[in-house]
Amino acid sequence: MPQLDTSTWLTMILSMFLVLFIIFQLKISKHNFYHNPKLMTTKTPKQNTPWKTKWTKIYLPLSLPL
């Protein structure tokens, strides 16, 4: 049986190591499995301002309508 001829075993094993452990893994590691796009909530956060709001509008950019 030609599979039992051990003279070629080293070549086979080395080429398999190269392909399996290096080439294939480099190729697959480059795959990006990204998440599906989701809707973001557009609610503005509640600001805790003890002073008057008409003075704080410019100091709270997150509460401004975009």
Partner: protein, 226 residues
């Protein structure tokens, strides 16, 4: 006829140069690297299939076991693509070589066992004695479990080699029979031709199943040990 039958399993070397390395490298050409955010159809299809297989195989593992995801995925892709390419006429299938399959099975199995030994020594030693064995049977059972542990990599390699080699040999034999029968009795040749077609369909299935089984077993050995 013996000489001729096994001729397709001789490792291809050209004047001492290892042609076989190019043959082993070829399946990786069929899986292009994904460079962009949105890839072409081929890469997207392959990525989708890869994600399907990934979810199926790695969901049973814990965090430690899931670090092997890259290794197991490249393993199943390598064995599957190599086996399927071997079904082309006159091609050389590297997975028919016992050397390569041993080279795949032994390091992966040893890695799983040594990981289990280093991190969960008591639990991995406990595998040698199943629960609830009667006391007089214990020494014999430990010996049996040790033998069954050490035979796992050999079984992995020989299973893959034997399945693919046997399939290829059957295709050779029945194809040769069909060819020889065509000039003698066409009806019988038709029957053998139908057998050949069924066999080829079986071999397609076997090619993919063997890849799956190999990877599944390595993943099971990993699950036991993480």
């Amino acid at each position: 006829m013996n000489e001729n039958l096994f001729a397709s399993f001789i490792t291809p070397m050209m004047f001492g140069l290892p042609l076989v390395t190019l043959i082993v490298l070829f399946p990786s050409l069929l899986f292009p690297t994904s460079n962009r955010l949105v890839n072409n159809r081929l890469i997207s299809l392959q990525q989708w299939m890869l994600q399907l297989v990934l979810k199926q195989m790695m969901s049973i593992h814990n965090t430690k076991g899931q670090t092997w995801a890259l290794m197991l995925m490249s393993l199943i892709l390598f064995i599957g693509s190599t086996n399927l390419l071997g079904l082309l006429p006159h091609s050389f299938t590297p997975t028919t070589q016992l050397s390569m399959n041993l080279g795949m099975a032994i390091p992966l199995w040893a890695g799983a066992v040594i990981t289990g030994f280093r991190n969960k020594t008591k639990a991995s030693l406990a595998h040698f004695l199943p629960q609830g064995t009667p006391t007089p049977l214990i020494p014999m059972l430990v010996i049996i479990e040790t033998i069954s542990l050490f035979i796992q990599p050999v079984a992995l390699a020989v299973r893959l080699t034997a399945n693919i080699t046997a399939g290829h040999l059957l295709i050779h034999l029945i194809g040769g029979a069909t060819l020889a029968l065509m000039s003698i009795n066409t009806t019988t040749a038709l029957i053998t031709f139908i057998i050949l077609i069924l066999l080829t369909v079986l071999e397609f299935a076997v090619a993919m199943i063997q890849a799956y089984v190999f990877t599944l077993l390595v993943s099971l050995y990993l699950h036991d040990n993480t």
